[in-house]
């Protein structure tokens, strides 16, 4: 991303950000104040103050999880006046998510990218995207040789397209790297981040061989009317500056039995998502009947994301 643009954007939005972000120290000082101050209402400050001391998500009891969710929903109401609904549905029995990408079918329309940005409340200011589509020439096989910044009519003659996102590795190097266990692999195979526990050291980012993680260098901005209100604690809820985030196969959708936003949006049907443990699923059909391959197999990361050719 263009850092000049990023900084300009940041200065413009800085005052807004400073007003809306109450840091814990000043929160502690002003908790007793009544009414609306520069840093927002005293209730919001008190809630943020409690949020600061909360535990790691995995160490919380369900009651504690419900409490923090209630606080987060209330903060969203007080600060942005939106009614969000944060879910904490856990992994389902006998489910292991997998993904397949049909290299023959993808024509590079990037509808998936658009849907992902919308669904996951990605930062509009810095144009954060979980999915990247690479335009490849025939003969190439690895996206690092392709063009990830194409801007023209698609599909282009003599080219094909490859989508890349977090591959939800079965042996994820990012999880091993994190010094605070703020990122981990759920039993259903999703690699998630406890945003509030992340300290922003970016070691996971250095450890990821697929460039699957995104860092919030700025305070992320999502216009109020564009916020996706159905959220998950480990998914598309609000992130702040300094946190790491990543694709979670739309945990807020997939755990409710739906497909991911990218799969839903794809106009060519190039994207296949489903339960690897269900022998009747489409993803299993692809794995059993097509020639599939994965990126950087030699690293032993064991991604749950396959490419196939019709």
């Amino acid at each position: 991303m263009d850092s000049e643009k990023k900084k300009k954007m940041n200065r413009r939005t800085f005052l807004k950000g400073a007003a809306s972000t109450a840091i814990a120290g000043s929160a502690a000082l002003t908790t007793g104040c009544k009414g609306k101050g520069l840093l927002g209402s005293s209730e919001a400050i008190a809630l943020e103050f409690q949020e600061y001391f909360k535990k790691h998500y995995r160490l919380m009891t369900q009651t504690e999880r419900d409490e923090t969710i209630a606080r987060l929903e209330r903060i969203a109401k007080l600060k942005q006046d939106v009614d969000i609904d944060i879910d904490s549905t856990g992994p389902q029995e006998n489910v292991l998510y997998g993904y397949a990408f049909n290299v023959t079918r993808c024509e590079g329309y990037m509808e998936c990218v658009k849907a992902c940005v919308k669904e996951n409340n990605l930062d509009r200011a810095s144009n954060t995207q979980y999915i990247r589509i690479f335009e490849m020439e025939h003969g190439q096989m690895s996206p690092d040789q392709g063009d990830g910044k194409y801007f023209h009519m698609v599909p282009k003659e003599g080219h094909f397209y490859m989508g890349v996102q977090c591959f939800q590795c079965n042996n994820p190097p990012c999880v091993k790297a994190c010094p605070t266990k703020a990122t981990w692999k759920e039993p259903d195979g999703l690699v998630v981040v406890d945003y509030d526990w992340c300290i922003g050291c970016r070691y996971c980012m250095a450890a990821c061989p697929y460039w699957g993680r995104r860092f919030n260098w700025n305070q992320p901005q999502v216009p109020k009317e564009k916020i996706t209100k159905k959220q998950h604690y480990l998914g598309n809820r609000r992130r702040v500056r300094g946190m790491m985030e990543k694709c979670t196969f739309c945990i807020q959708r997939s755990r409710k039995g739906k497909v991911t936003a990218c799969v839903e949006a794809c106009p060519t049907g190039a994207r296949v998502f489903g339960n690897l443990l269900d022998p009747d699923s489409e993803i299993r059909f692809v794995l059993d009947n097509k020639k599939v391959y994965r990126l950087k197999e030699d690293l032993g990361t064991d991604p749950k994301f396959w490419y196939f050719i019709d």
């Binding site: 991303m1 850092s3 990023k6 900084k7 940041n10 200065r11 800085f14 400073a18 840091i23 814990a24 120290g25 600061y52 790691h56 160490l59 990247r132 690479f134 996206p143 690092d144 040789q145 392709g146 990830g148 890349v164 190097p173 091993k176 790297a177 994190c178 010094p179 605070t180 266990k181 703020a182 509030d196 526990w197 992340c198 300290i199 922003g200 050291c201 970016r202 070691y203 980012m205 250095a206 450890a207 990821c208 061989p209 697929y210 460039w211 995104r214 860092f215 919030n216 260098w217 700025n218 305070q219 500056r241 300094g242 946190m243 790491m244 690293l299 032993g300």
Partner: protein, 411 residues
């Protein structure tokens, strides 16, 4: 009653060290003022960064670690280098080096404080740093090498601060320190020094995602470059002590340090040559980072002049130190020490961190140079390190000299 005198002893120690620190010539006062100004500049820079977030730096999703982590890596080496004084003076009973071992330990303390400050200012959410503290946080030990690094660096800081503090405190009161109270920790600190630098190397070496770092030579090479750059910095401090205070340091100490520096620098250059051979004899896809560093890729060649400068002055410094073209006074070797330090700082700092991250795993190539905020904060951290070394060293040397005069030269 006994407790009362112990408290009184401690009080007079603290009072005297404080007085010694603030009293001095005009030159010393100006020097302290400069350090305070540097620290203020750093605080100002951090204030901006705290408000804007890490977007105040030139780091991005591609170059996600920059100038801070580069300096951190170099300074871990400086901290580890104290072992090159501790080892000969305690294991081989070298009387000359024993006299300056405290200076090495104080430099290590300063370097460690700088290391930890650099890691702290690099955090995206510094207020959440307590998540790292075992007990109240949730440290990912032993899986994450970063958690190892946090533990060993803090342990090494404790060793290098408490052992000299105990010895100096005893000397202040004219007592001989009791060997069994501190000698075991000295021996622990020798192994520990190697550990801090190996673990810092493993931090990078353990990432298969980054072929430029995923190299088994990195740990040993870190040690070799540290044992060249660290003693070189200690030598510089010794030259300053020698000319600015009445704590005199003999030429043979400089000569011993020079031999250590040259040996380590030669080993470092050999390993560097071995790495360059591997990257360029039969370049593979994994040699892209080295290409980027040494020759530039797709027009992004901002590191190229730096790395060639680093290698040239590394060689030049090593040759001057090895062959001593200016006979006589050791002070003529100071420029060579400075060359070597700068060479290793570039090569092991920005010349190691940035190419590890470029090209990105998706093949993107960009240039990186630190922003003004990064430079300001770095200046502040360096000021802090120099300040700590100064305020620890000044009273320590006064006490040591006084003790030596009253108790002779027997340790």
């Amino acid at each position: 009653m006994k407790k009362n005198t112990a408290l009184k002893d401690l009080f007079s120690f603290v009072r005297d060290t404080f007085i010694w620190n603030i009293s001095g010539s005009i030159g010393y006062q100006i020097y302290l003022c400069i350090l305070v100004c540097l620290m203020m500049a750093g605080v100002y820079g951090y204030f901006i960064q705290f408000k804007l977030g890490l977007s105040a730096t030139n780091m991005s999703n591609i170059v996600s670690w920059g100038f801070y982590i580069s300096n951190f890596t170099f300074l871990v080496g400086v901290a580890a280098a104290a072992v090159m004084l501790i080892l000969p003076s305690y294991i081989f009973n070298d009387k000359d080096l024993h006299k300056v071992v405290i200076i090495g330990e104080v430099v290590a303390v300063g370097a460690l404080v700088m290391c930890m400050t650099f890691v702290f200012v690099d955090l995206g959410r510094p207020l959440q740093f307590w998540h790292l503290i075992p007990g109240i946080g949730h440290l990912n030990f032993p899986s994450s090498l970063l958690s190892w690094d946090i533990l060993v660096l803090n342990g090494y800081l404790a060793l290098n601060a408490l052992v000299p503090a105990y010895i100096v405190y005893c000397h202040y009161h004219g007592r001989e320190p009791v060997g069994k109270f501190y000698k075991p920790f000295i021996f622990i600190s020798i192994g520990w020094a190697v550990a801090i630098h190996m673990i810092t190397a493993f931090l990078y070496q353990g990432l298969p995602a980054r072929p430029f770092w995923n190299n088994p030579l990195m740990g040993p090479r870190f040690l070799a470059s540290a044992f060249a750059a660290g003693p070189a910095i200690i030598s510089l401090v010794l030259h300053i002590v020698n000319s600015a205070t009445d704590y005199k340091i003999e030429d043979k100490i400089f000569n011993k340090l020079r031999i250590i520096i040259v040996s380590a620098a030669v080993i470092n250059l050999l390993m560097l040559f071995s790495e360059i051979f591997k990257e360029f004899y039969f370049p593979t896809h994994h040699s892209q980072s080295a290409m980027y560093l040494f020759f530039g890729l797709n027009g992004h060649d901002s590191l190229v002049p730096w790395i060639w400068t680093a290698i040239s002055i590394n060689l030049l410094g090593t040759l001057i130190l090895a062959f001593k073209p200016f006979k006589g006074n050791q002070i003529f070797l100071m420029p060579a020490l400075v060359l070597l330090i700068i060479g290793i700082w570039i090569e092991k700092g920005i010349g190691l961190i940035v190419p590890g991250l470029v090209p990105s795993p998706m093949g993107e190539i960009i240039s990186y140079a630190p922003s003004n905020v990064e430079l300001l904060i770095t200046a502040g951290v360096v000021g802090l390190g120099a300040f700590i070394v100064t305020v620890l060293l000044k009273p320590a040397l006064i006490i040591e000299k006084r003790y030596e005069e009253t108790h002779g030269n027997s340790h």
